[in-house]
Assembly symmetry: D2
Homo-oligomer: 430 residues x 4
Amino acid sequence: MTLVSSLTAPTTDALLARYQAVRHQTETLCRPLLPEDTVVQPVIDVSPPKWHLAHTTWFFETFLLGQYQPGYQVFHPEYAFLFNSYYNSLGSRVNRADRGTLSRPALAEVYAYRAHVDARMQELLSRADTLPEAFWEVLELGLQHEQQHQELLVTDIKYILSTSPLAPAYLPLSSDAPEAETGPPPVAWLPVPGGVYRIGYEGPGFCFDNEHAPHETYVADFALQNRLVTNGEYLEFMRAGGYADFRYWLGEGWDLVQQQQWQAPLYWVERPEGWFRFTHHGLRPVDMAAPVTHVSFYEADAYAHWAGARLPTEPEWEIAARRFRPEAADGTFLESRSFDPQPLPATAAADQCHQLLGDAWEWTYSAYHPYPGYVRAAGALGEYNGKFMLNQLVLRGGSCATPESHIRLTYRNFFHADKRWQFTGIRLAR
Amino acid sequence: MTLVSSLTAPTTDALLARYQAVRHQTETLCRPLLPEDTVVQPVIDVSPPKWHLAHTTWFFETFLLGQYQPGYQVFHPEYAFLFNSYYNSLGSRVNRADRGTLSRPALAEVYAYRAHVDARMQELLSRADTLPEAFWEVLELGLQHEQQHQELLVTDIKYILSTSPLAPAYLPLSSDAPEAETGPPPVAWLPVPGGVYRIGYEGPGFCFDNEHAPHETYVADFALQNRLVTNGEYLEFMRAGGYADFRYWLGEGWDLVQQQQWQAPLYWVERPEGWFRFTHHGLRPVDMAAPVTHVSFYEADAYAHWAGARLPTEPEWEIAARRFRPEAADGTFLESRSFDPQPLPATAAADQCHQLLGDAWEWTYSAYHPYPGYVRAAGALGEYNGKFMLNQLVLRGGSCATPESHIRLTYRNFFHADKRWQFTGIRLAR
Amino acid sequence: MTLVSSLTAPTTDALLARYQAVRHQTETLCRPLLPEDTVVQPVIDVSPPKWHLAHTTWFFETFLLGQYQPGYQVFHPEYAFLFNSYYNSLGSRVNRADRGTLSRPALAEVYAYRAHVDARMQELLSRADTLPEAFWEVLELGLQHEQQHQELLVTDIKYILSTSPLAPAYLPLSSDAPEAETGPPPVAWLPVPGGVYRIGYEGPGFCFDNEHAPHETYVADFALQNRLVTNGEYLEFMRAGGYADFRYWLGEGWDLVQQQQWQAPLYWVERPEGWFRFTHHGLRPVDMAAPVTHVSFYEADAYAHWAGARLPTEPEWEIAARRFRPEAADGTFLESRSFDPQPLPATAAADQCHQLLGDAWEWTYSAYHPYPGYVRAAGALGEYNGKFMLNQLVLRGGSCATPESHIRLTYRNFFHADKRWQFTGIRLAR
Amino acid sequence: MTLVSSLTAPTTDALLARYQAVRHQTETLCRPLLPEDTVVQPVIDVSPPKWHLAHTTWFFETFLLGQYQPGYQVFHPEYAFLFNSYYNSLGSRVNRADRGTLSRPALAEVYAYRAHVDARMQELLSRADTLPEAFWEVLELGLQHEQQHQELLVTDIKYILSTSPLAPAYLPLSSDAPEAETGPPPVAWLPVPGGVYRIGYEGPGFCFDNEHAPHETYVADFALQNRLVTNGEYLEFMRAGGYADFRYWLGEGWDLVQQQQWQAPLYWVERPEGWFRFTHHGLRPVDMAAPVTHVSFYEADAYAHWAGARLPTEPEWEIAARRFRPEAADGTFLESRSFDPQPLPATAAADQCHQLLGDAWEWTYSAYHPYPGYVRAAGALGEYNGKFMLNQLVLRGGSCATPESHIRLTYRNFFHADKRWQFTGIRLAR
């Protein structure tokens, strides 16, 4: 199996602890929700939290308990139909657009499903040393998969709550108010000399199959900005008429601007007292020093055009990140529970590269295609990544909704160019 | 105001009791639901129960408290946007198709809204003798309106629960199992001589504006069947290839049969052991002696063609109902909490006309158009009925989901020809 | 066969002459067109003229030559697929929306098809006295059918030419300019006493099956206006904000006004020098004295609301027309080749009922449903009318595009409420 | 201006001859068409030939006559609206989907437009030595643009004629029947060593802006097949169940296979006597030795998966083409007027790389993105290519519908992955 790099099996105790921590983290994220919040699907991209809770559980049930636990009986025979996401190998399933039409199983039943699977998983893990390497690999994949859904939970919860004119808060704002807007440091261009570089994941530990195979690539001389574009900088683009001038836009992007009447990033609302944005803490003033997020690729690209720059390619991003990463590690991750990218302090060193990991996914102008030497795995898990390798763009670096232990410099995320509900931001290249 | 007939104001106590009874009935219907069930909108016709609970409350708040309670402050300023159904006079509102995307306000908040409005309404009713006749009229309208939504709650809950492959029961089946299928009595044709008849509502008491004005109409000799078409009779049509022969169908109906792959009434499922249907008690065997329901107008009309008969017109139905009604009153209504039409006993008199009220709405082959002399009221309540008077068909007689105190022989219900989620059935004429 | 009333077979010569005259009229209408004009289908309702030319021919080939001409070989085996309009009995056919995608058969081939069928029809007609009554009936139906398509040709050609910004004229305007706008006479209300009347077609000669059976109907006292509503009167409604006030509109109509941005009847264009409309002679100033046309039912109904009146029902229209018809026959028909309704002279008698036949189809507020006693014929011709009897409204009286020999007081035309490309107009009742 | 490489102005006579030759070639292609064929747009991708004839003319009128001919009056003021394709800089235009609804201007008027512009262009060219370099550049662009539309004319005409069940031939099949199917030579893999290569256009002469800037790229060792995949080889994939097994397909491709019921390449039809395909000569048996065409990217990629290989990337294709091109130049181009890719003779050298130019566009697994250093030109011509650089795939090598003088090894064509109406084929890499 080529899905993951070879792993040394950890101790049972360590693994069980990790399993429990990841599973627990998911439930912690859902705890502030009401049952009503866990059912709806306001747009096709946003799945009901109840579905995430169950689907991640179904993954362990299907790929581990069903394979390695002798005589395992599924919790409910219909759950494979209800909670399979997209695996053709595993049969028919609820149409994706209909996930939000199902009130049952109820939230409590889904938690019972989680508890049932967790109990059986703990039994299995207690005798894990008898299981083959393939087991360890899929277990790790299941945990990484659940972390991916944690990020989706954060962004889907935000979207779900945003649709109500009541602008409900997921969590109250913590009392320690953010510091004054003194940041960020000025923009600087960090140069990278051209040449042949090696990218892609190498070494021990987990990676997704799409980070393989590591390979050489050539880039010309380029420079990358030292930090993410801020809300304040993006507002200049808006004020300069960026959304009204087709010359900055790709053709499909311009069509969307007109059809969808885009005037600002997703979640921005103009009030007499200024610009606000919907956050996990309800409607809040836009922090001009913080990185802009919830922009589509089209907006990121139009901003870059307007600014006289461009978006980096995927190899440029990774090459620069490997080069500059040691100098600055100041990202915001899921574990901070801030649920918003944070402004850099004004004192951050301008000659270092900030926010490479965390805060906001960075759109690259590279298609999500297979790397040279990429091979889809056989069986259902071969559908995990490979079949999506068209018409999407690579994003890099993780966001404030990404678990810190989940992200890597070689991590390839991907979305269609029009998507805005993730914490997607902009870093310029030239 | 022409919406309702002139009413004598009842005593405050009687009125308060009636107000509380109607409001209580709505909540009783929702009690078996989980919060998750109250949020979703699987198709545009089916509104979330939470929405029904709030919208009916908004009606009293807007048309009574806002008008007659001095200094009344609305419970929440956004609720007018959230819970206005279709009144252009009252401003913009949530797009109907988006009702199921809103998880907030939560169910508990909606109940708090109901309690708040009920408390203020009781204050208002305690001094009701000081209020003008218009108040009494709109109060009655509000109660009738809430009863209409009780019927919709019954049918929408059924649809919502039906979408899950778990086939959850709204209520457990009561232990007193239905009697053996010995009914119904054989079909008989009850003749009505042609002539000029008067139809429409007359006299004291409440009616909807669409039952006005009472007027003469001419019908030729005709005959009506003594009872509703049963599931068993409809199954004969199915077995005779009714869904596969375009000759029985109106053009639009035939297109739908092909597009939607209709093979049976809504909720029917074929199993190796026979036909089942989804009910409020989960999946149950089809009772062949019970009236067929959940058929569209197209299916009702095709069945009639196949049977060598036709559907009655609206005047025919009312004329016959007024003529035969005294002889038999054996319908099933909401209050029975059976949530399904019931078979007639085999011993029911074949020469009487059964099930005219209750059990199943009866499709007529009459368009829902204004009666001669119909006038839309001024103001927002003029939008209650009048603007829908096109491209829908009249149904008569109420169903097992209709409150018994709500239905009348002159009552005009209306749906588009393709709708199947109401308890709609068939009575033949010739 | 119940499609047509019993006919006395005319002499062969007379019939042949009539056949040739009708067929020739169709080709005369198409003569000013370029081949390019005969292919396109700018909206689904508008069929390519080439299709009309072929479909009417296919009707004779299929229902007469194929039935009564021994050994007849079809002109081309694919034409049944290409030129069947909607007869399920006759198998599959080109999707209606795709008629405008077919450049072949070319126009010249279609004319060759017409010539071929005409030659064989003349052979058949020369021995017509040997043929059964059913032959005569279907022949008459074929001729009436072709006349219906002549009207559609006129309106479809208008729509096709209108889509080009070049505003090309179908025909040059004749030199005899219309007289000055002195008409029409003032509006007058012509009363009709209530009672039981008989409507529907009776007697010898042809009628469509939907005019059967003649039957009694009751109407209350009512009055009908003495003439059609004019463009000038309709402009008053526009200027009074008629298109901006939802209170005048049915719900579906108001939705359309918003979606389609309707501000005026179809084909109206506002220029600095006033209102113009596209006609068969290109863009022309709106003649304020002429009847308004190209309005949907929704617009007609909203106009009536605004004017404090209403649209007549179908029985009212026919009863009044039978009563008043003898007094005035001043309509404009296809044969005038004016292709536009004409203003009444100011001197027309105000106490007579004008324009009942010709000029503009008059929307009634009656659904197109079967008359009592209506029976669909067996076989393919049973699909001619019956399967369309839902969700459409009856229009009466014919228009300036209707052949004069084709129209009758009992003639039932029908369109969906949103259609505007026919010459549809307004007569008020109260 | 960066659109084209610097050009030495040729002599007036040579240039005039070339202008006339290109313009004449377009009209030659349209000569076999009937006026009816030039109007329709059966799907949005396929423009009416009449539109191509006018749009290419509008290009010269707008970008040359309007700029360089003093006092030039446009032929018709509405033509800019009618025949602008997608230039936002030049104002509003007919919705692309509506091109096939316009019967006017008629074909003859469009030819008159061409003659008018050609006459004025010849005047302008006669004094061309007085015009600036920018003129020469745009003139060359206009001629290359017209050649692009010649290819589209060939493919659009094919699609248009294919929609009729009459399967009309654009041209009769020439008498010299194709030789017996003895080809092609066996497949061979031609290896290319990895390393840094330079790709993109360099040197004098014309290229499109998207071929700039020339730049280095790194590829690993790879091999390319010596020829295109044949119909016979593709049929093996079909017979092996290729269209029924999701494992070979990208996710979006599999969805399309199901929705569109794809079972074979576009234009293939199965008959009892075997597989046929619609061609410019009507329906013809599939030549198993000829290259497969009219496959989408999804089909090309699925075929490659099934065959245990993959599609080349764009750099691989160009690097290999530059390396192997000298050895074999045996492509079929527009000038051959065969309108179909031709089989290689069995005697073709297996160790050479055949059909790199001509016959069929070769899908690459590379997104159509800007090259490093690409800059959009200012002004309307900056919209020529740059705004389409997303969500499309690069195709290389030209086809049997490409003018031979138009294609180059560096030429970048691009289409969406689902398109099948171009002559698109498959060459494998590994």
